[in-house]
Amino acid sequence: MINSELKRLQKIENRIYQIAEENGLKFCDIEFDVIPQEKMFEMMAYGMPGMFSNWKFGRDYEKTRTIYEKMGVGLPYEVVVNTNPARAYLMKDNVLALQVLIIAHVVGHVAFFSMNQYHKENDSDIASKLIVASQRYEEYERKYGIEIVEATIDAGHSIMFHSNPWSKEETEQEKLERIFERIKQKKHHKTDTEFGDFFEDDDSQAEIDREKWNHKVYMTLKNKIPIEPQEDILRFLIDHSRVLADWQKDILETVRMIGQYYWPNIKTKYMNEGFATYWHERILRQLFRENLLNADEHSECNYSNSLVKAKSPYSMNPYLVGSEIWEDIVKRWDKGQHGKEWEEIQDFDTKKEYDDGSMKGHDKMMKVLRTSNDWMFMHNFLTNDLVRELKLYLYVRKENVFFEELVITDKTANEIRDIIIRSFSHSGIPKVYIKDGNFENKGHLLLEHEFIGAELDSEYAQKTLEHIEFLWGDDCILHAKLGGQNKKYHAKKSQLVGDFNMEDLEYAPTSETS
């Protein structure tokens, strides 16, 4: 990049911040690094500077590179790391117009991070923690061999998103007390209604019985692992597995931390990308009006923007769908096209042309931005009209002898909308609980999938269970539904890895994580 160009870009950058602030966006400092394309692909694959080594990132790196080679230049790649100051990357060989688009887009993201409630408690120090961690892992690789380090990371990755960052952090003792109290309450409640008579009198024997009963319940609870079904699978394995060495626990803690870091992003992907797209479009228009971008550059931006917002026949594009929903919110609240009164207008044209001049669009946007996640966003603002406008459809797979075809169904806008909303519940991540850490008194681990309308993919479920088995070191059983029936997945104590596990891990030195 030529110096004069860099200077011009910095000037535009400052104006972008001003425009964003004038529009009420709040955001922390952003540092942009200009990097060569290969480095960009690496950043996109690893997601964060300092991320540790793993073949999955290598695969993604290779994929991005292949796509880039096929599609050629012009794709606006962006990587933003939600730290403070936020860190983002610009690709060296991109033309200035594209850099401007990305800067404007990134400002939208950082504003989103700063203002959305789900990103409030984000670990702003994660990048530096990762740099130190990946150095440790290289040491582990040298010491214990790449296979076992890889197996540990892979197993961790497989259940990375089963650690919800918003669940209460409780010690085992606190949990025990809480549940014990709850059971006692229930018992008392029962005595009040059903057997009240028996316990009415202040008989000392009854008191003793009660004490006995309490003690029994308490001890049963104490011996129960986990005390109640536990959603945080990684936490459970780190705390209770008998085969994990300390260095493995170190890896798993980091993986868990990363999963928690990404959770807010998963929960708000459509809102976030839509918001950033909404604002980069407006900022670019403003820059063009102020002559900071010439006509050629502006059309260059428009071309890239059209790539960003391209429709995909097989999936929803979050940039497009997200930004269109934001546009719709602003439009409708500017004109007062919401609420019961408006809904009840019968005449189509009157309803469409309705405008009370309330101009509340921006306020509404900021309110939704602060409080919502994707599920709420879709539930509240993806209207049937929008489904039709965006030409969303539902397709199914049909198989005949020779072909497997994807065919568009004749589902109505309302049905499509319902299906989309349902796919956002729990951010599309199935809920799997640890039920019993000593199933059938054999030391086996019992897990259960909470069925809320969709079944697990059986191949993936089996393989994931085998990952869990590697960390647990003994048989793992998963209860789930398959084809409408109850299915018991079983990961047997693996011969190959299991043996390796028992001999090598138990005696592994434990002073690594000091």
Partner: protein
């Protein structure tokens, strides 16, 4: 708020991890040869040393919702009305999606030889000790092999001649020094002045008639030192094999069945090419009559008409008799059909003619995808095949259990194999069946 421009970024992990991923893919391919060999990308890549396998990259497993719940579909976006097809790919079993799927985001490049090497660990040559395989000597030209003392000057071996001369000179000089007690220089001069004759050289010194003023000039080449090259006729031991690909091309042999045939023959031929220096393939297709055709017609052409397998076997027998002497050629015959034959008795007698020649292998492969079968019962009894039961009536076959959904029988003494395969997953078991390490019964 800044834009920082760095010149010296290095790729830290991307390349290393990409390499690791590639290693894992290679390993996966190694472990899944049976999936890879059914991949049509490979089959259509004839003549090339490397094959590209489309791979999705390795999966990272996690709990996800299955395809069943959403009917294998999803939400898409764009112009399109109900009923429009937005995507299409070959159904499972016809080719296409396998463990390492077709048309992935990435491509793994695999050496064909490498796959064959992996296959080699499980395959052999049927009924053959490789040393015993038929081979012939082919004249290759001439070559220099040995050295002789006699010959014509045009074929003189200069280096060897000089070597001999030096050797002899040194020996003579030492001998003269020993006999006369003179020094090295004198001995050399004496030898030179006596023109290489050792006795007169000794005389020269004894009689003191050596002319000391003549300078020493190296050594002399004697007739005895001359060495000549000898040329020999060069021959090469060459092992040859011919594959007779026989196929029923009547209407019932659909494209997907032919695909399986092609896949099978591709690997068989490539495998044999590793084993023999020279491999010939003859394609014979038949309906009621048999014709010899080129490869493209064989796999992509189509005919209508009845089905008489006997015609193809007769044609092949004729070609063997006229063009491929059995003591020179290793002969492999593969007959592919869906089993329907109008005159199975005639077919069996034509097959018998071939069996009696005792060729290296005769393999009958029946291709029966599931959708051909009308009901469960037919599935187990192969009710639509007329040829297979006829063969089994005529000769004794032993059933062989191999993985997969195919069925396999063998008659070791006749070098005769029967297979029924259903989809591309059965290609590998079928190859194992055909090229397994069979041993000939000692009684024959």
């Amino acid at each position: 708020m800044t834009i920082v421009y760095h010149e010296d970024w290095e790729i830290m992990k991307g390349l290393k991890d990409a390499k690791r991923h590639q290693e894992k893919i290679d390993e996966a391919i190694r472990k899944n040869v049976r999936d890879v060999i059914g991949n049509e990308d490979i089959i259509t890549n004839e003549g090339k040393k490397k094959v590209r396998v489309g791979v999705q990259g390795l999966k990272d497993y996690k709990f996800i919702y299955g395809q069943k719940g959403s009917g294998g579909g999803g939400v898409g976006q764009g112009d399109g009305d109900a009923g429009d097809v937005i995507g299409r790919r070959p159904a499972k079993g016809v080719g296409g999606k396998g463990g390492l799927g077709h048309g992935g985001d990435m491509e793994a490049e695999v050496e064909l030889d490498y796959i064959l090497d992996v296959m080699m660990q499980d395959l052999g040559l049927p009924w053959l000790d490789p040393k015993k395989k038929n081979s012939i000597e082919i004249p290759k030209g001439w070559r220099f092999e040995s050295i002789s003392k006699k010959g014509v000057y045009s074929r003189i071996h200069k280096k060897r001649t000089m070597k001999e001369a030096i050797k002899r000179n040194v020996l003579f000089v030492q001998e003269i020094m020993e006999q006369t007690g003179c020094d090295y220089e004198q001995a050399g001069k004496a030898l030179q002045q006596s023109k290489g004759d050792i006795e007169s050289a000794i005389d020269l010194i004894h009689t003191s008639t050596l002319d000391e003023d003549v300078p020493s000039a190296g050594f002399l080449i004697h007739d005895d030192d001359l060495r000549f090259k000898v040329i020999d006729e060069d021959v090469e031991i060459c092992s040859k094999a011919v594959v007779f690909a026989l196929m029923d091309v009547s209407g019932s042999m659909t494209a997907d069945k032919k695909y399986l045939v092609k896949s099978l023959l591709f690997w068989l031929v490539n495998w044999l090419r590793k084993q023999y220096e020279y491999v010939d393939i003859r394609f014979i297709q038949h309906t009621e009559i048999a014709t010899e055709v080129d490869e493209d017609t064989f796999f992509y052409g189509g005919e209508t008409g009845g089905t008489l397998a006997s015609s193809a076997f007769k044609k092949a027998n004729y070609i063997i008799d006229t063009e491929y002497p059995l003591d020179e050629w290793n002969i492999y015959t593969v007959y592919c059909s869906d089993g329907e034959d109008f005159e199975p008795k005639n077919a069996v007698s034509a097959i018998e003619d071939m069996v009696l020649k005792k060729i290296n292998m005769l393999s009958y492969v029946e291709i029966k995808p599931y959708h051909d079968l009308m009901d469960e019962q037919a599935m187990y009894e192969y009710g639509y095949s007329t040829l297979l039961p006829e063969c089994q009536k005529k000769w004794d076959f032993k059933e062989k259990k191999i993985d997969g959904e195919g069925k396999f029988w063998i008659n070791e003494n006749l070098h005769f194999l029967l297979s029924v395969i259903r989809n591309k997953k059965d290609i590998w078991p079928c190859l194992q069946h055909m090229l397994g390490m069979h041993t000939e019964d000692s009684s024959t």
